[in-house]
């Protein structure tokens, strides 16, 4: 089955990439944008979705610095 893991910088940890994007948008005329954060998307085809949590903790994310969100199915 298809699964997606969204990985983003942990709340409270400085995210310079998010800040850079947030500052770039007004230069292109986009206004009213805040709280921009840049993360990673991992797409997987898994047989056993119950293993995803463990995969995230052990490899896909570093829980010390990143939050992750598991999305299963299309």
């Amino acid at each position: 089955m298809k699964a997606r893991v969204l990985i983003r910088p942990k709340a409270g940890i400085l995210d310079p990439q998010g800040i850079a994007v947030e500052r770039a948008l007004p230069a292109l005329g986009f206004s009213g944008v805040s709280e921009v954060h840049v993360g990673r998307l991992v797409e997987l085809e898994v047989e056993d979705e119950t293993q995803l949590e463990d995969m995230c903790r052990k490899l896909l994310a570093n829980p010390l610095i990143e939050d992750y969100e598991i999305l299963v199915g299309s």
Partner: protein
């Protein structure tokens, strides 16, 4: 005294590391391929800089699963002395052998320059040839060098003398917490740092201050 220098696919500073180790009086050094497991005859391990496994996923994240890293983890838990430089520091953090993690530089740019590095704790296996408070001139070259650990962890590390090296003269090049340039584990036998001591061992390149770290590791063995 025989140093082992680990080489992953994508490592690029291993030869400078070997040359630095060999500059220590009476010391020899050899490369350790990541796919091997033997640490026979190795007295201290250096994990050098570079881009192990292409920095895929996260810096250091894949390298820690290599066969050699399993041996290095056992070596460390038996009290063996292990030094991680730059990418080696990132690998040791990912492997859980050191606390914390390395994040992208605050400026998001690759920084490559000589920095002052203050020896905060001169009683470790990596700094005992230094004077307390001594400022070493060593280059940094990295994009992901912002050391991070949660506040409680930082306090605990400060209390245990695990903050071994700090960027001096307000010269923090990457936004590291508390100006941290190098940390050790609680037992004191594993250390990681972002600056490159192996690039500061020859007067021709401006500084020989980096050599004191390798000398300290040899002294630790005696």
């Amino acid at each position: 005294m025989n140093f082992g220098v680990v080489q992953f696919p994508g490592t690029c500073d291993e030869r400078d590391a070997v040359l630095a180790c060999e500059r220590v009086e009476g010391a020899s050094a050899q490369l350790l391929w990541h796919g091997e497991t033997s640490l026979d005859g190795i007295d201290a391990v250096v994990i050098p800089g570079g881009f192990s496994y292409g920095d895929y996923l996260r810096v250091g994240a894949i390298a820690r699963f290599s066969p050699m890293m399993e041996s290095v983890a056992r070596f460390a838990s038996d009290g063996g002395v292990v030094l991680g430089i730059c990418n080696g520091f990132q690998v040791l953090c990912e492997a859980g052998l050191l606390p914390g993690a390395l994040l992208p530089n605050v400026g998001l740019r690759f920084v490559c320059r000589q920095v002052g590095v203050e020896v905060v704790n001169a009683e470790t296996s990596f700094t005992r040839a230094c004077e307390p408070g001594q400022v070493l001139s060593i280059p940094v070259k990295h994009t992901t060098g912002r050391y991070y650990a949660p506040g409680v962890e930082l306090e605990r590390m400060e209390a245990h003398g695990q903050i071994v090296l700090r960027y001096a003269h307000d010269g923090n090049p990457n936004g590291s917490s508390n100006d941290i340039a190098g940390v050790s584990n609680e037992a004191g036998n594993v250390m990681g740092l972002m600056p490159h001591p192996e690039h500061a061992v020859d007067p021709l390149t401006g500084s020989v201050d980096g050599l004191t770290l390798f000398t300290s590791m040899a002294v630790a063995r005696v």
